[in-house]
Symmetry: C2
Subunit: 332 residues, 2 copies
């Protein structure tokens, strides 16, 4: 297959589709001093990338129309004019969606594939792992005996949040979108109870039954109606880390819902939005602890892998229909 | 006028009205050991009392139908079988809406009227002052140079919040409901700008103009559409102390509005509900600092006083139509 790249053909109005992504033949720029030539091996698709397809102010600038989409990726160095990189090195960085790239070496980091499979650095030892770690422990502050509810429980972040909450001595209740995920989360990932939000006849009642002592921490990955149902059962002095709102990312109108402030007010609840880069100063601590838990067998991990560069658009869309359990990865 | 009390005749559905309050002749219970007989002199009406008229779980139990409404009040001791209280003492406590009461002495505290007028202990040196102090400083954490927006800026709490924010070196922008309040807040209470939410043709635009650097702290007393307009201009890492939601207290349906979580998420905003009793351990600190600022002339104070026990229902309703500037008090 010849080398190619995927550009943002047009900004999606609602759910991205065939008009959003354009495959193009690739012309590589020349290798200058400080540059590294790489071949992409694992590409990460993440919900936040949907936000970059819009032309709105957020914590990362929007993708440019006609330019390659970019995201977290693992690559193999094929040529280098940058100190510290040599052909054969495995590196991680933000890379264009292209089979090959020439990028400045200073944006790349070498990863040690003797410690963990390369793709783990896009997941449990990377951005999703750190997001789970800091969001739950720093904002959620779970205490032993409390009840922690995680929406998007089978997602890249949710899968890790639930396990860290369990390590903190909490009752852990997940919300997920298929019976397969429900079974896997309870059997393999230690969740005490999991509610299938797509089939529960009365979601609020199902959450109440799964949380007989109410909800002390709600780690929110999805927003929308699922969150409305959880917040009804929120306890006094509860904490709500806002990590994602994936149910709303493809809405075209301003999403409306029941106002939550009266509940947060009367129950003295804390809600805090965050992005993982808020914790940049503490990444070493987080990565060290996550790696230790993985090595001790205390954190289990799984990922959903699609094979082939041409699967990147499908993988991205799959996030919104819940195709993945754990991190969604495209292996080239 | 003979002695009387005001009972909750029926739970209001929406705005309280003539059917909510019932005046009754008063029969005093006998003075037992530990009791104090008092004559009410100043009664406080506060927005949170509306919540107690509903039969819903909150941080204070609901009023009982057929029983007297109760709230913060200043009273004069007329007789005492409790240690530490003697006729003529001026006391503060939660008292029934009754011209005279017999209550346990342990629920009362003497106030020193040589330091400040008695009614101040229901306002700037009492619950509203402490609410402003802890909500702004502990949750809002204003830093010099930041912009602080206060809704319900002319209310009992808002009036104090704005001045403490000013003492913290912030640009202070109020939102209030009449041109008289706008003028008074800017001329007498140091607000840098005040928006009249009832007359601004485009509230969001008016807030943007008053906050050229965005909003770093939003002290929310009112909720609803006013808050929607403010949150549009919230800055990264902003803090939103949720103190009141008075615009919603008389709604009969679940109030709907634009979902705020996407904004809180993408801008890493903290929102936290609170009630003043969360800070009970620090009341001495708060009262001491507020009294010092009042004595140093750094905090100005005003109240709206209605005269006559029979004005209590009108005073309560007046809160919802914005009749008051500063604390609303009924003087008997």
């Amino acid at each position: 297959m010849s080398d190619q790249q995927i550009v943002l053909a047009s900004r999606p109005n609602g759910m991205p589709d065939a008009n959003t992504f354009q495959f193009e033949p690739l012309t590589l720029s020349e290798l200058k001093d400080g540059d590294v030539a790489v071949r992409g091996t694992y590409f990460s698709v993440d919900p936040y990338m949907r936000g970059r397809m819009n032309d709105t102010k957020s914590y990362v600038p929007p993708f440019a129309v006609g330019q390659p989409i970019s995201g977290g990726a693992i690559a193999e160095v094929t040529d280098s004019k940058a100190d510290g990189f040599a052909p054969g090195d495995v590196v991680i960085g933000t890379l264009p969606w292209a089979t090959r790239s020439v990028v400045p070496g200073k944006g790349l980091k070498k990863v040690d594939t003797t410690l963990a499979p390369a793709s783990y650095y896009l997941g449990i030892l990377g951005m999703p792992g750190l997001t789970a770690y800091f969001g739950l422990l720093d904002i959620g502050q779970p205490k032993a005996g409390e009840t922690v509810v995680v929406s998007g429980a089978a997602g890249a972040v949710g899968l890790i949040v639930g396990q860290i909450a369990k390590l903190s001595g909490c009752r852990v209740v997940g919300i997920a979108g298929s019976d397969e995920k429900v079974a896997q989360l309870t059997k393999e990932f230690g969740y005490d109870a999991v509610v299938n939000y797509k089939t529960a006849p009365d979601l609020s009642k199902a959450i109440a039954e799964a949380c007989p002592n109410g909800v002390d921490v709600y780690f929110d990955n999805v927003g929308g109606a699922v969150s409305d149902a959880v917040i009804k059962h929120i306890n006094f002095h509860a904490r709500i880390p806002l990590c994602g709102q994936i149910s709303l990312y493809n809405t075209t109108d301003v999403p409306m819902g029941p106002r939550i402030q009266p509940m947060l007010l009367t129950r003295s609840v804390l809600m805090k939005g965050f992005i993982v880069s808020n914790y940049q100063d503490r990444f070493a601590e987080g990565t060290h602890q996550l790696a230790a838990w993985v090595n001790e067998g205390k954190l289990h991990y799984t990922e959903t892998t699609l094979k082939g560069f041409d699967k990147l658009p499908d993988a991205m869309l799959g996030l919104f229909s819940g195709q993945n359990t754990g991190k969604m990865i495209v292996e080239v």
